[in-house]
């Protein structure tokens, strides 16, 4: 569908006037702290965008958040302190990687639970089938199909 397209549409609608993700004037002078800022930016959501990180987003709000992240880092915050600060301000909505807590338990545990559940179901099935694995005959053919089968069988050799 026009899924990708829609993503693009939303993006561009947001991008007025068009700017780009990280701007030259935002970049911090120390490459190490800048790298930290970039890593953090990838985990933070631009809240007016459709599932975009502030690192990717063109929206003015994303720029504000990027500057804020860099401000906190410059002030000496650790990565988790920066995240805590933003969560305190904007709520968990700002995190692209939800925290592991009561409300997100099911989300995080889904894959292991399903894998384990699926594996268990398969194992039980195999055991049960091994015990009583008689093959059940297929339902009988209709007269139509009987005739067709006969027709196919009578001269199948050259065709196959």
């Amino acid at each position: 569908m026009r899924r990708m397209m829609l993503a693009i549409v939303t993006l561009v609608l947001l991008a007025l006037p068009a700017a780009h993700a990280v701007q030259p004037d935002e970049i911090m002078s120390d490459p190490a702290t800048e790298a930290r800022a970039r890593d953090l930016s990838r985990e933070l959501r631009c809240m007016v965008c459709q599932n975009q990180s502030i690192d990717d987003s063109d929206a003015p709000l994303a720029r504000d958040l990027r500057l804020l992240v860099r401000e906190r880092i410059a002030a000496g915050d650790s990565n988790s302190q920066v995240l805590d600060f933003l969560v305190a301000r904007y709520g968990e909505f700002v995190l692209l990687k939800p925290r592991f807590e009561r409300q997100t338990l099911l989300l995080w545990l889904l894959a292991p639970l399903l894998l384990a559940g699926g594996g268990l179901a398969l194992w039980l099935q195999i055991r049960r089938r091994a015990r009583n694995g008689a093959d059940v005959p297929a339902p009988p053919l209709t007269p139509d199909e009987e005739a067709r089968l006969a027709a196919l069988m009578s001269d199948d050799a050259p065709s196959r």
Binding site: M1, I8, V9, L16, A18, S53, L96, L106, L114
Partner: protein
């Protein structure tokens, strides 16, 4: 007149679909051949009328008839012809019309080429197709009519969103639709099988080519969309785990699982119930995707098509079809007996593992997409699920899957020899390890994961090659025999080799791009030089130019490496006056599979301009992989066994006639 004809044709198509929904079923019940054959003619006529309706809309757009609301809102008389045509599906109403056109196309194809199907099965399949079609015709006619007129026609249109004025729009949506509307056929086959209460290996053989066609288009459609985003958005991202993308990824994952389980069913008559369920789920996920995008439920802030009536209508369709089909499944599936025993370690076992991992991966994407929505509604808890979440959950699942991929095709049916297969994969494993060591040494430390992932990609590719070598007896038998065997190998075997290798290729591309992407972001003035990954890019100057419906500012970069001029790159920024918005046209320089990517930001008052330059190593592999997969799919489709409407002996056909 054209608009009214198009509208009328659509109403007629709805009438035909309603007939096709009911009459063939009565025919099947009464065993009346004539009534069952109504399905065939109705499906073909429906295709004709929907085709006419779609053509009418295309003509309206080409003629720039702004008395039609849809044309006025999405077109402009100065727009190049190609975008006038593609603009037809660049909006809600038109894209829904494309949706039903493709649905009718698939229905028509089954009607035209389904001569090898038992009459009652074909009648049932086409009837179920018509149920879907009726629902969506109604949806279009009631909530999203593209043929509505405006009382006082304006002189000029509002133009198409500039980002959509790209060749990507010509290819991406139709491909994607061919993919996920195509899965309606396997859905219809599954429902038909449940209604008839009969399902066997032959069913799997009939349904596989249709599933394969849909899968090929969906694969290409997703890859194409990803490449489009990559070059159009201006920062070189190619996958965002956006709900809109997830909506297309979910049917792909389920469809891939379906392809594999149908294989087990066809070869070994096992996994019948599961294959039916997957057929239902795959198309249900397509419907869900349509709902998510069309209702605007995901984009509560920036709703693109926020109109509650539409959302509720699609939700009703969704509940009706998903609920109905799953209830039917729950009621009837137990009556279908499983056949074909197999040991856990066997080709079937490997395919079951494939299905387990793909389904869990699909469930993760589904949950990731819907969980925030559910939490917001149920617990008043606003949260986001984005790329970092999927990296932690989806990626490990796919890693397991990729590790298992080379083993599958080498295992024997019924009972396999894991130790033997491992021995045969030794060379592939060693190749992977050697590559890991080389990459590790070459990049000196850095991320430990990247070399491992590349090694895995090499293992998958080498594993696919091993499969081929084993089947043809390469290195064991004389060359002539090998060649002879290679020629005799079924096309589907070749297809599997290419598709699996494609996975490895894509993985290598993804890892290289994400790990060793170099970027340069700065404000540049004329004659400034940027140094990126060994390339020197000198800004020669800025120019502006007038396009058909936009003005653009072009920056000219002279690209050189070690003093030797390679090329000139001209990224640009286009401003579209009608919509008052702009797009960035990135410039790409392809060197092998790697690309140099330049896009422009804002210009400053002093004549300098913000520039983003990336070097993306082996980035093209990301899309060559899916292309290889799709090529594998095409090879497999051309296998004689699966060929749609494969020629049959003439005499048998003649004798078949009176039997009907």
């Amino acid at each position: 007149m054209i608009a009214e004809s198009g509208h009328y044709a659509l109403v007629l198509a709805l009438g035909l679909a309603l007939i096709q929904s009911i009459v063939p079923l009565i025919g099947a019940r009464l065993r009346d051949v004539a009534l069952m054959n109504v399905a065939r003619s109705a499906a073909l006529a429906q295709l004709l009328f929907v085709g006419a309706s779609f053509t009418a809309l295309v003509m309206l757009h080409v003629n720039s008839d702004f008395s039609v609301a849809n044309v006025y809102e999405n077109s402009h008389s100065m727009k190049p012809l190609i975008y006038k045509i593609t603009g037809v599906w660049g909006n809600h109403e038109g894209s829904m019309l494309l949706w039903v056109s493709i649905l009718a196309l698939f229905g028509g194809l089954v009607a035209a080429f389904g001569n090898n199907l038992p009459l009652s099965l074909r009648a049932h399949v086409l009837a179920v197709q018509a149920w879907i079609a009726s629902a969506f015709y109604l949806f279009i006619l009631v909530t999203s009519n593209p043929f509505l007129r405006i009382a006082n026609p304006p002189i000029e249109g509002r133009d198409l969103n500039p980002v959509l004025q790209d060749i990507g729009l010509a290819v991406h949506p139709p491909m994607l639709y061919l993919g996920y509307v195509g899965f309606s056929i396997s859905f219809s086959f599954a429902i038909a099988a449940l209604i008839e209460g009969r399902i066997d290996a032959a069913w799997a053989r009939w349904v596989r080519p249709w599933t394969l066609v849909a899968w090929i288009f969906l694969t290409l459609g997703i890859a194409m969309g990803s490449y489009w985003a990559y070059y159009e958005l201006g920062w070189g991202g190619w996958w965002f785990w956006d709900p809109v993308e997830n909506a297309s990824l979910m049917p792909w994952l389920a469809g891939t699982a379906l392809l594999h389980s149908a294989l087990v069913m066809e070869k070994r008559n096992a996994l019948k119930v599961w294959t039916l369920l997957l057929s239902i789920l795959t198309f249900s996920l397509s419907l869900l995707g349509t709902f998510l995008v069309r209702s605007g439920v995901i984009t509560s802030v920036h709703a693109f098509a926020t109109d509650p009536t539409r959302g509720v209508f699609i939700l009703l369709i969704l509940c009706l079809f998903i609920g109905g089909s799953l209830s039917l499944f729950a009621g009837r599936a137990t009556a279908l007996k499983q056949g074909g025993l197999f040991a856990p370690i066997s080709r079937e076992g490997a395919l079951v593992l494939n299905n387990l991992l793909l389904t869990v991966a699909c469930a993760v994407v589904l949950f990731g997409t819907l969980y925030p929505l559910a939490m917001e509604v149920l617990a008043d808890f606003k949260m986001s699920v984005g790329a970092p979440f999927y990296n932690l959950t989806f990626v490990p699942l796919f890693t397991l899957l990729l590790l298992a991929v080379p083993f599958g095709p080498l295992l024997a049916w019924k009972r396999g020899d894991l130790l033997g297969v491992t021995q045969r994969l030794l060379a592939a494993g060693v190749a992977g390890l050697v590559v890991i060591a080389i990459v590790w040494a070459w990049t000196r430390g850095g991320s430990a994961l990247a070399p491992l992932a590349i090694g895995l990609g090499v293992f998958v590719i080498a594993g696919a090659a091993t499969d081929l070598a084993e089947r043809t007896g390469l290195f064991r038998l004389p060359v002539a025999t090998t060649l002879h065997r290679a020629r005799g190998l079924p096309r589907s075997a070749w297809g599997a080799v290419f598709a699996h290798a494609g996975l490895g290729v894509a993985l290598i591309g993804i890892v290289c791009e994400t790990t060793w992407n170099s970027e340069y972001i700065a404000t540049m003035k004329q004659n400034d030089v940027a140094h990126v990954a060994g390339y020197d890019l000198k800004l020669d100057g800025l120019f502006s130019r007038q396009g058909p419906n936009y003005r653009e500012m072009i920056a000219e970069f002279n690209v050189s490496r070690d003093g030797e001029t390679l090329s000139v790159m001209t990224p640009s920024k286009r401003s579209f006056t009608t919509r008052g918005s702009s797009t960035t046209e990135a410039a790409l320089l392809t060197r092998g599979a790697s690309q140099l990517y330049v896009s422009l930001g804002d210009a400053t008052a002093e004549g300098a301009i913000a520039v983003r330059i990336y070097h993306k190593p082996l980035v093209l592999l990301i899309w060559w992989g899916p292309v290889l997969m799709a090529f594998g799919g095409v090879l497999s489709l051309s296998d004689r066994r699966l060929r749609v409407g494969a020629p049959k002996p003439a005499r048998a056909k003649q004798r078949l006639q009176p039997a009907e």
